[in-house]
């Protein structure tokens, strides 16, 4: 049967324990914010899918997983090429996979050719997750992989601000270069996305379809094309999140499961379909997780409970306030 696998070995690792001090808490918050941006990027992808196609993709974490593996193998295979290209490659491949899946499996639903579309959407995206997980298990095996960081930091010597190749020091606070670059690339991607959504015609068309599908068709926007675009872009954003995090965490084919549940938490928190809401939600989850793990009294269990914090918030929000904390469309 299925071999029980190292499900948790891949999870986001907790910071080593220190005594609780101001610097420690500050460091946890900075860590949380940096990871939170990446969570937010991924969750915005899910938001885009939800608000345009009106479905939740249960395969979102698997695009994240795919993005990470592509970067890993790209770095292994093309050592001579600039490492940033690996991230571009991850974006292109996840976009393409999302595109094909949407066209083959989701488009018939939008055209009304499938009975019980709600149930179908849940199950078929779940089926995709199942398929992609085992596909990668077949291709790369169950052993954790980790890409090394894309760049070294420039050497700077200072009293307050100094760096080594792998670490940035701000007084007593240390920031790892891997996380820093991951967060910076995610920020860049996020800025690009916001520009695209709010400043281009196609972005406005996506917003239009999410706000009123029929009215969008009336002005001449083809909603089916927007569906495909939204799904592929959503997949690509998850792929990007994975692409930057594969340098921070180790990667197994199941790495997408906790990551996608984090995206679920964030979009529910952010009001199911709001980009600013998801952004804020991502930062909140990043910080809560970081603080929760860092300050949990029993360090042995802290890491195991890392994912529980977000899930508990999630369950509570779903039960108490299913419209989320900030309801608004795209």
């Amino acid at each position: 049967m299925l071999t029980p696998t190292v499900w948790d070995a891949s999870l986001f690792h907790a910071s080593p324990q220190l005594a609780v001090s101001g610097e420690f808490v500050l460091r946890l918050i900075i860590d949380g914010l940096m990871i939170g941006i990446i969570y937010a990027l991924m969750a915005i992808g899910l938001t885009l899918i939800f608000s345009v196609l009106n479905i939740v993709s249960f395969a979102h974490g698997e695009f994240y997983m795919l993005g990470g593996y592509i970067v890993y193998f790209f770095l292994q295979t093309f050592e001579a090429l600039p490492p940033l290209l690996s991230i571009v490659a991850a974006a292109i491949v996840t976009f393409a996979v999302g595109f094909l899946f949407e066209r083959i499996f989701l488009q018939p639903m939008a055209r009304g050719e499938v009975e019980r579309p709600n149930e179908y959407a849940i199950l078929v995206t779940f089926g995709l997750a199942f398929f992609l997980q085992f596909l990668m298990l077949g291709l790369v095996g169950p052993f954790p992989k980790k890409a090394h960081r894309l760049f070294d930091l420039p050497q700077i010597e200072g009293t307050f601000f100094r760096t080594t190749k792998a670490t940035l020091f701000l007084g007593d606070i240390t920031i790892s270069a891997g996380r820093l670059f991951a967060a910076l690339i995610a920020l860049l991607a996020l800025a690009g996305l916001l520009w695209f959504m709010y400043r281009t015609w196609t972005g406005r068309a996506l917003q239009a379809v999410s706000q009123d599908r029929n009215a969008a068709a009336v002005v001449g926007i083809n909603p089916l094309n927007m569906n495909t675009l939204a799904f592929s872009m959503g997949a690509m954003l998850a792929g990007l999140a994975g692409a930057v995090l594969v340098t921070v965490y180790s990667w197994v084919p199941w790495v997408g499961v906790p990551a996608s549940s984090k995206s679920f938490v964030i979009i529910v928190l952010g009001g199911m379909g709001s980009i600013p809401g998801s952004l804020l939600g991502g930062l909140i989850i990043g910080v809560v997780e970081s603080l929760g793990t860092g300050l949990f009294p029993d360090p042995a269990r802290a890491q195991a409970y890392r994912d529980v914090f977000g899930l508990v918030i999630f369950a509570l929000v779903l039960l108490l306030r299913p419209t989320g904390l900030f309801g608004r469309k795209l």
Partner: protein
């Protein structure tokens, strides 16, 4: 006369179904005789029945009632852990109970948790319910994994043997009894008026409520019954001397998706089709683990061993090991089934088998017409026919 013929063929259809069912039960019963020398296959068969119970009880919840719960394996695990903890000799809440007592208690506990979760989920529909149950399943699994002192953590919790014998035969028969018992119970349930309520709620909750169906009770009933059955299957199966251990990784979402795939590929609108889907998939997965190949082909493949292994395949003594690729195939099959055969692959087959009477029906109609013409009245269904 014509109506009598139709009734006649309906009875025949029912006989065909019962005949098939009897054949199925017979196969289940004589299976150990065929595989007496191969206890491994007996173990696989018991495991297949375990999955069959899980898949059919999931079909009861999702297929009949439309509640897409991803917490089914979590409920299975909860009952197993509850029973295991109550049966322990030392530790918190350890009462050293016999499995015959601790299993029912574990199932009751699961029923209670199912009641609470089902109640909490009442307001959530489809996608939100799926999201919530995934969260619940993950929280349950992670907590069990983290609370090492209480649950044994990632290494699992040892369970007392339910039967003294270490032979696989009694274990297998117990599983057959459990399978047939739960299937029958669920069949009776869906045939009762509650079955109609289940489906009414699935089709349109508001309309069902308007027609006087108690939506709250119906949804909770479906949730509690299906989680208790999942719990029962889990607790009994893990208490077998041949298993004897439960680990939190059995509750992973990946395992849940396998159960889901079994039910969907079988046909989640039919309990028996879901169960057959589980049995079929479980056996195929076992068989696909190492596909037997002739020696000549194996020798050719041997030359490419490195390539095969880098692609995640392997070479065994007698065949090709497919490892994860068999699951890739099933993932694809799941998606294709959903897209093109929403009723599953086995359910329509069963339907067609039970309609084998179509030829007989035509013959009966012809006969009925002829009889009408010559007005002979020694047909057994004459009374009904005469009324028409």
């Amino acid at each position: 006369m014509r109506r009598s013929a139709q009734l006649n063929t309906q009875y025949q259809a029912r006989y065909t179904l019962w005949g098939l069912a009897a054949l199925g039960v017979l196969i289940l019963l004589i299976f150990p005789l065929l595989f007496r020398q191969q206890p491994y296959w007996l173990y696989i068969a018991s495991q297949a029945l375990f999955y069959a119970i899980l898949a059919s009880s999931w079909a009861l919840l999702a297929g009949y009632n439309g509640q897409f719960s991803f917490a089914h394996m979590a409920f299975m695990g909860l009952a197993t852990y509850a029973s295991g903890i109550l049966g322990r000799e030392t530790g918190f809440l350890a009462f050293d109970l016999s499995p015959w007592v601790s299993i029912p208690l574990g199932v009751l506990f699961t029923g209670f948790v199912g009641l609470v979760i089902g109640y909490l989920c009442l307001r959530l529909r489809k996608t939100y319910l799926a999201l919530f149950t995934i969260a619940f399943a993950e929280i349950t699994r992670l907590v069990i994994k983290a609370e090492v002192k209480f649950t044994g953590g990632p290494n699992g919790l040892p369970l007392k043997p339910l039967l003294e014998s270490t032979s696989y035969v009694p274990v297998y028969y117990l599983m057959v009894a459990l399978f047939l018992g739960t299937l029958l119970a669920m069949y009776v349930l869906v045939r009762s008026r509650y079955g109609l309520y289940f489906q009414a709620v699935r089709e349109d909750e508001d309309a069902a409520a308007a027609l006087g169906v108690n939506v709250v009770n119906t949804r909770i009933l479906a949730f509690v019954v299906s989680s208790m059955i999942a719990g029962l299957a889990g607790a009994v199966f893990h208490h077998f001397p041949t298993v004897g251990l439960v680990v939190p990784d059995e509750m992973i979402i990946g395992r849940m998706s396998l159960v889901l795939a079994m039910a969907i590929i079988g046909g989640s609108n039919s309990l028996i089709a879901a169960a057959l889907g589980a049995i079929f998939i479980h056996f195929s997965l076992e068989w696909l683990q190492e596909i037997p190949l002739p020696a000549a082909i194996l020798r050719t493949l041997e030359a490419h061993r490195a390539t095969l292994e880098s692609l995640g395949f392997g070479l065994g003594e007698n065949g090709l090991k497919t490892n994860a690729w068999r699951m890739v195939g099933f993932g694809m099959l799941l998606m294709v089934t959903l897209r093109f055969r929403q009723n599953g692959l086995i359910a329509p087959l069963l339907e067609r088998l039970s309609r084998r009477h179509v030829i007989q029906e035509i013959a009966a109609r012809r006969r009925a017409r002829e009889e009408e013409e010559i007005e002979v009245s020694d047909e057994p269904n004459e009374q009904v026919g005469g009324a028409s």
